[in-house]
Symmetry: C2
Subunit: 215 residues, 2 copies
DNA sequence: GACATCATGTAAGCGGTTACATGATTTC
DNA sequence: GAAATCATGTAACCGCTTACATGATGTC
């Protein structure tokens, strides 16, 4: 029996089918497609590289690498080191490369559906404007930091020569550009938001309660 | 014993402590702070309202509402309807309003850490540029649709009068503005990405393999 | 000796998705 | 009578986080 109902859920692109473990798996394959890496190094990149729009901690990375090897998408070898603990380097197999290629060109609706901070902003009408402005200022500096990191990563690449970048840097620079666009737009929004709050601050008597009730 | 190690994880703002069930809970409180609503209506809004930067399905909403009532942050009453099934309307309590106020002004580092599509773009150097451009075109139309919905929601609100908006609309319009800024920046990025790919297309022999290996 | 980096995990629990279930009413 | 909306859930599972564990090597 086919179940009816709730067509509005389907109509608006909700982040459905986003995962199914696919994305982490492919984020790992994508990086190992370029070079041989250890779980530790992959974790480090997830944590620190701007332009890598995914993240995972070591507790997730190591088991996933093992699973990918078991499935034949990766192979690994142990490298013995002096002055450091030994490590296991993973590299992609032909099967893995095939899987990666399929994934890259598969459908993927845009994300950005959930945002803690913007959910708070949604209630900025019912809190003290001055407090909101203070929170907004902190938020802006965090975005400024992010923008600076993206711009650092973009430096030394004249846009005229992008077609001659090697495969790895080409994609990386594209995502860095996305980061720059995003951060700049959010900083611009911070400006207008601050203006709106300032106007509201002026319109509200200074002694008003920090928690106004809804009209 | 204090555990050392991995300071780089802490240095770069990783989406830690983002949840702890707090955000869904407060997204519900925020909406019930404005008006009395049913679980069904809340679910509908999560699915369809631009400017509401959170989402949850009915399966998550109903149990969470029950939990919030149990904790005294909400109360509910059953409304009998003819021509429709009865429904339960929830409203916020003073305790709930207090909790909400605390949450709104609490810290929240920016999100946007994971993105399926941009993770694919990261590998755009190793796939056929023409295929990538096709995927990008689809992606762009989705963002155009989103932008249109945000702009619809923003219409009829002259920016000059924002300070006189009622509390609910003030916050909502702020988030709608954020959506507009975001979507426009992503559309602008799509333009440059398409240019980069076109340049790469011209630089690559047309008969090249759809899956180039990394140099 | 305290702390940091390098390197690799296990176990429990939470937030969220997928699949499934129920039933009344309205519209074509 | 088929399909859609309105209305409210339960059960299983997955992805991810939190907490914890281990141990070698290098640095102040």
């Amino acid at each position: 029996m086919i179940r009816p109902g709730a067509a509005f859920m389907v109509a608006n692109g909700i982040g459905r089918g986003q995962n199914r473990r696919v994305s982490l798996r492919c984020a790992l394959l994508a990086q190992l497609n370029v070079e041989e890496l250890s779980g530790y190094e992959l974790t480090r990149r997830f944590a620190g590289f701007p332009g890598l729009f995914w993240q995972a901690r070591s507790q997730q990375v190591y088991p996933e690498l093992a699973r990918l090897e078991e499935q034949g998408l990766l192979t690994s070898r142990v490298v013995e080191q002096q002055s450091r603990p030994d490590k296991r380097l993973y590299s992609i197999t032909d099967t893995g490369r095939k899987r990666l290629g399929d994934w890259i060109l598969s459908d993927s609706p845009p994300s950005f559906a959930k945002d803690d901070f913007l959910m708070k902003v949604w209630s900025y009408g019912v809190v003290d404007p001055a407090s909101a402005r203070r929170q907004l200022a902190v938020h802006r500096t965090l975005h400024e930091l992010r923008l600076a990191r993206f711009e650092d990563a973009a430096r030394e690449h004249a846009p005229a020569e992008v077609s001659h970048l090697d495969p790895r840097e080409f994609g990386e620079q594209l995502t860095v550009q996305a980061g720059i666009h995003l951060e700049r737009s959010l900083l611009a929004w911070c400006e207008t938001a601050d203006e709106w709050l300032r106007a509201r601050e002026d319109a509200t008597p200074p002694g008003a309660s920090p928690e106004e009730r809804s009209a």
